[in-house]
Amino acid sequence: MKCDLGVELLSGYLDGELDKEQKAEIEKHLKECEVCRKEIEELRQLDEYVRTAEIEEPSREFIFNINRRILEKVKKKTRFRLFRFSPILAPAAVALLVFVVLININRPVRFASLDERILYAEVEAKKELDIEIPKAGFAREEVYAKGVVAKEKKALTTSKVPTMAKARDVEVFDHAKKGEAGAFGIEAQDEIISLTEVQELQIPRDRIVRAIVDSNGKILKVATGNTIIPERDTMLENRLQGQQLSPPLVKGRRTQLYVDLTQEKVTKN
């Protein structure tokens, strides 16, 4: 015997999803129809079976480590999302970054480092600045300090490089190479480092020796080598560090300088 009652209604009745009228109608029908009573019993049984279906146990990794794994991932993503979820903060941060880069792009570094000389020379060679080369005080023979990098927006000069300064690699020293001492308006004496002192400093003759001196003329760092950018020489630095040269002045102001201590014999005409 077949019943016209739709299986949907029986299923809905079983789930308690019918409205009051439908529910009353079904209940009335079930009292009269054995087929539907059997049907609904089978559906209940089916649900029971579904609830008893086996489930494979989760792995130990899942049980013990999934919390940590999830937290690690969400923490990582949170860091990246800090900006992603902020339509205002992200562009503002980028704009700030660009602004900071732009205002610093042409700004000289505050302290000369051992490999900055060439960059400074190249950038600043065309500018004219007053500069005084550190002096050792009493010169006996002519050994010259040369090559300067100034801090605090001071830079190399093309006009007042010492007469005898070497100009191996920078345009700025070309004048000096040619011996145009008079044009620089600096007394030769001022530019000379005492040979005695330099010898006392034991500066190697066969290598470029560069030092950073502070605004009091004290040697801070030393680099040596045969290339344009010498490397820091800690052994020589240990010997020279703290040695006193004359205080370097740029436009009358004391400043930290980059000094080339390479010895060069004066060619006497």
């Binding site: 299923s11 008893t52 279906a53 919390n67 969400v74």
Partner: protein
């Protein structure tokens, strides 16, 4: 460390304020129930575990949209089920996957009644029958029968009208009954 008796609401409130650690007790509380649902949907332990993990991560990312006061489990279950449905569509392309594990297991154990009790055999057959159901039927049965979601909730999770929930559920039950008969699962 958070006290595990703290309510979902309290913990979620803290997560919303940026305290990731407050999410930990929620994971602990719901990972196994979610695993059960995911397992019933995909019938593969590794996949189910991955889907649970993904569900928690998605829930965390969407936590700002969770309305405090509503049941968290229903919410995350919805996320997990939707994720699993997408996974099934993508990985299985809507086809029913032969569940070799269970069929093999059944075949191996059929001839050895001593090894398993009748109850155990029955359970495995039921599981195999469930695995044979089309994905959409299985999903709706899991949500209704296992998780006891209302038709309204199922309608929201699956994004189908309530009437469709009712008809699909009825058809799914009919189909499962047919599979049970084929596999020799007898009514008590």
């Amino acid at each position: 460390m958070y006290n595990s008796i703290e309510s979902d609401e309290v913990l979620i409130g803290r997560v919303k304020k940026g305290d990731c650690e407050a999410f930990n007790p929620l994971i602990e509380r719901y990972k196994l129930p979610l695993y059960k649902v995911m397992y019933r949907m995909v019938y593969n332990r590794d996949d189910a575990e991955d889907l649970v993990e993904e569900a928690f991560i998605k829930a965390f990312r969407a936590i700002s949209r969770f309305e405090i006061g509503k049941p968290f489990y229903a919410w995350i279950c919805r996320i997990a089920v939707n994720n699993a449905i997408n996974y099934l569509k993508k990985e299985r392309r809507g086809q029913v996957q032969p569940i070799e594990f269970f069929e093999h297991s059944l075949a191996a154990k059929k001839g050895n009644p001593v090894e398993m009790t009748k109850q155990k055999v029955l359970q495995e057959r039921i599981t195999a029958a469930m695995a044979k159901l089309p994905d959409d039927y299985r999903t709706i049965i899991v949500l209704k029968v296992e998780e006891d979601f209302s038709y309204d909730e199922i309608s929201k999770v699956l994004m189908i009208p309530k009437g469709t929930v009712m008809s699909r559920l009825a058809r799914a039950r009919q189909k499962l009954r047919g599979i049970f008969k084929e596999m020799g699962v007898q009514n008590k």
